[in-house]
Amino acid sequence: MLVFIIRRLMQAALVVAVMSVLVFVGIYMIGDPLAILVSPEATELDREAIARSLGLDRPMWEQYLAFVGSALQGDFGKSFVFGQPAIGLILERMPATLELALIATIMSVLIGVPLGLYAGLRHETVAARAIMAGSVLGFSLPNFWVGLMLIMVFAVQLGWLPASGRGPTVDVFGIQLSFLTLAGWKYLALPALTLGLSKCALIVRLARATAREVMLMDFVKFARAKGLSEKRVIGVHILKNIMVPITTVTGLELGTLIAFAVITETIFSWPGMGKLLIDSIVHLDRPVVVAYLIVVVLLLVLISLIVDILYSVLDPRVRLGDAK
């Protein structure tokens, strides 16, 4: 188990190292941060002073080594724009993104699993076909379009829900959370729906496919032959088998959800890391971009670790020690 975790962390370190190089080179190629940071009227002397204070006067490889040196001591540099530690900026906005992604995931599981299960068990019915047609739409509609349509309908036309922002939050151990109040939910609903829709469609399809596979298994027939109620056959014997792949996929998809949150956060002006990333890229605020990517990679590693542990809990045939 410990070996397993250490191996995972080493993989993560490798990814972070490669990525930081790419980001450095990438941003260097996109443009010169100074052009954005320094006003056009500034004198050449001012420019140089600012460049020196940000370390931008040195050659790129030197900048990179300096970054690595301080990063190893836990210092990821200061934002060019805000002048605050980049990592602090990210962590400050992380709860908003995580909350959005988690609520979107939970919503997509709670809606997707029952729909998929129904579509699988009653696959010849009209309702099942309608569900599958719906899931194709959910899959293929672009994220931003869904977001805009939801805003059009629920915010502009009906006026039921706010179109943007995060609204009131509740402070829990220093973390700001929306989902504890009704007012918070009003702000959360549309972005979470937008973000979760395609995941929900994916879960519907996965649940349907596994349900159709599992329902033909001998152990389901044996469960019926034991005289179990239909409720128990479906709710325990079939559902528990479906939850194994659902948990794995959902967990792994949580990572892409966090990444996709960038688009949704921008549409709804949700104050999360994704919106910060977009703003930072626009301003060529390299330290923030690098810090964002590092945080996200670590997050993904953590998620896949949790998924593996959950998987072994759900499927007793899997033991972590054997996982390669």
Binding site: D218, F219, A225, K226, G227, V236, L314, R317
Partner: protein, 330 residues
Amino acid sequence: MVATLQVENLETHFPSRDGIVRAVDGVSFAIEPGEILGLVGESGSGKSITGFSILGLIDPPGRIANGSIKFKGEELTTASPERLRQLRGARIAMIFQDPMMTLNPVLRIDTQMIETVQAHEKVSEAAARVRCVETLKAVGIAAPEDRLKSYPHQFSGGMRQRIAIATALLHKPDLIIADEPTTALDVTIQGQILYEMRKLCRETGTALIWITHDLSVVAGLADRIMVMYAGKIVETGKIATVIERPQHPYTRGLIGSVPGAMPRGKRLFQIPGMTPALINLPPGCRFKNRCARADATCEAMPELAELQPGHGVRCHHPFGAEPLTLAEVR
């Protein structure tokens, strides 16, 4: 005495694009308490579907199209789903062919056994657990208290089949349908399980339908035997009568293919050909294209006729008193 099970002219059909698959086509038989009935036939002859029909577990669009199934006098073909559920697992139990597939891989053994007890009786979990432990002991599982906490993958095939059998025995059913329960196991374990099942049936008066494609398995186990071919019963009678004087050419072929039935050194005899597809069957005897005795009369379907009391044969040209020889079979 009312029979444990009385099946009359059972027909189970599966509609398909090319026509109706008549998996079970006019099967009638009865079984008394404590009796062991062997149901023998090649793969695809409709043995399992006969068993599932009795339990009301035919997967749609398949359905029981005709006939009657009376369990201790109660009609099952028209019974409500809830009534069938009450009977399944409690009064009528079934054991499946492949022990690797019958237990749910993600649930512990205790969950799977206790739920069976509680599906039919309002008892506490502790009481149900005690019952499970006792039943597991009865089928020869050592330290059942500990084994109950395991998952199916932690057991061998033989142990899993014992667990499935124990599960079937939890409510001391009146009828057990065992669908080739030992085929997947090695010969020693097969023998043990056969012996134990037979003992249990004798002791408790449970009627047992033992489905198999291997005649030698039921030869030492059953009281009566029923040979099935392409959805129809072709021969039925006391085990000794049928084995010593098989009347139907198909039964003779089956006996010929049992090791030991033929003189040493002779190659094991196999019936040439295959079971016909059970779809759009031509009229006449279904065995005719594989039968050495077939002639023009076989273009009409023979009736299941009693040659002697209790010995029925569906053939225009039964063997009568002729002894069993290899040449005859060919």
